[in-house]
């Protein structure tokens, strides 16, 4: 399985694509980080891959 993640550019906290996709827009969960993370921060090819295979990223 292609596992897709995004690292916050401000604090380095890593967030998986399934978490980004379910929230769409979220405050970075890193400690004291105010950065905003979006599913669209992922590469377009990763976004497309995730959405095409969304079922396999769910329980």
């Amino acid at each position: 399985m292609h596992i897709i993640t995004h690292a916050c550019t401000q604090c380095g906290t890593v967030v998986s694509a399934n978490e980004l996709e379910s929230n769409r827009v979220m405050k970075c969960p890193g400690l004291d980080c105010e950065n905003v993370l979006r599913f669209t921060d992922l590469d377009e090819s990763d976004q497309e891959h995730f959405l095409d295979n969304k079922a396999s990223y769910e329980l």
Binding site: M1, H2, I3, T5, A7, G12, T13, V14, V15, S16, N18, E19, S22, P29, G30, L31, S56, Y57, E58, L59
Partner: protein, 357 residues
Amino acid sequence: MKGVLLSGGTGSRLRPITHTGPKQLVPVANKPVLEYAVEDLKEAGITEIGVILGHKGREEIQDLLGNGSDYGVEITYIVQGNPLGLAHAAGCAKDFVGDDDFVMYLGDNILKEGVVDLVESFESGDFGAGIALQEVDNPQQFGIADVDDQGNVTQLIEKPDEPPTNLALIGMYVFSPAVFDAIEKLEPSWRGELEITDAIQLLLEDGYAIDSHVVEGWWKDTGKPEDILEANQLVLEDKSLKKRGTIGDDATVDGRVELAESATIEDGAVVRGPVSIADGAVIKSGTYVGPYTAVGPDSTLEGVHIENSVVIGESNINTSGRIVDSLLGKGANIGSADDFLPEGRRLVVGENSQLKL
């Protein structure tokens, strides 16, 4: 070498304790299980640790570990979200790990000997992965490894009917970055998860040598209440315990007892170790605290006889009854019903609680 510490999961087998917090923060000998893992990684010289977070208890875990500076390590948080299996958790750590090898440590596991020997064994050769094994009496219920004379793993089998060995995988691994290629090739198993044993099997099939290290000391997965009690026994048996708190002149304290600086054992109380009593706890007159008990912070015990139990903290226990083999959640209070009519026990019990009366 980096560390990846898994701290997700629902903790369903530890309900109701885990209704209000993650299982990795349940204390053993008055210290959250997760802290033992961080200390083990630090002891092995690993100071860059990625902590995998699931849906449950993220903030509590971050509140405890912070940026790692209190433990002399540097922590990066990795939010896995959906619990899609151990291999998925490892895969989420790919960017954090980079080109390094890494130890993957299950945050609700605790083992006597730490991971130093596991890491040294892995580093002594050119391995794709290293796995910790322990001899078990019931290999049919575990993932089992077959190994050759040199300790190289030749096969992994999940819950075999006819196990070739009694060496079970215990949830401690060392991986080279090659594991990420194996994970990319994985498909979810029948239970919808990416299985780490499948990733290791793929490494084997791709020609990588897999090291094994047989753990001689005890190991516990603290997933169930009885496991917490057993881990508490094992840690109290081994731990160096110091009395720093206040002990009344007419209190009786036998054996090894850890008494935190602001904890008190008052006159007329009896404490028989090994026992751990945390800060702010008060053991009042007429109370007996017996072996293998941990009394958590800011708890007050009066009149009760308690042994082989874990009181997580902030409890008031004021009863003449006997409490054994019990796990009491934070803020759980137990009083006496002796003066009430009609006679009988009076309970306010949360969902998924287990009582034996």
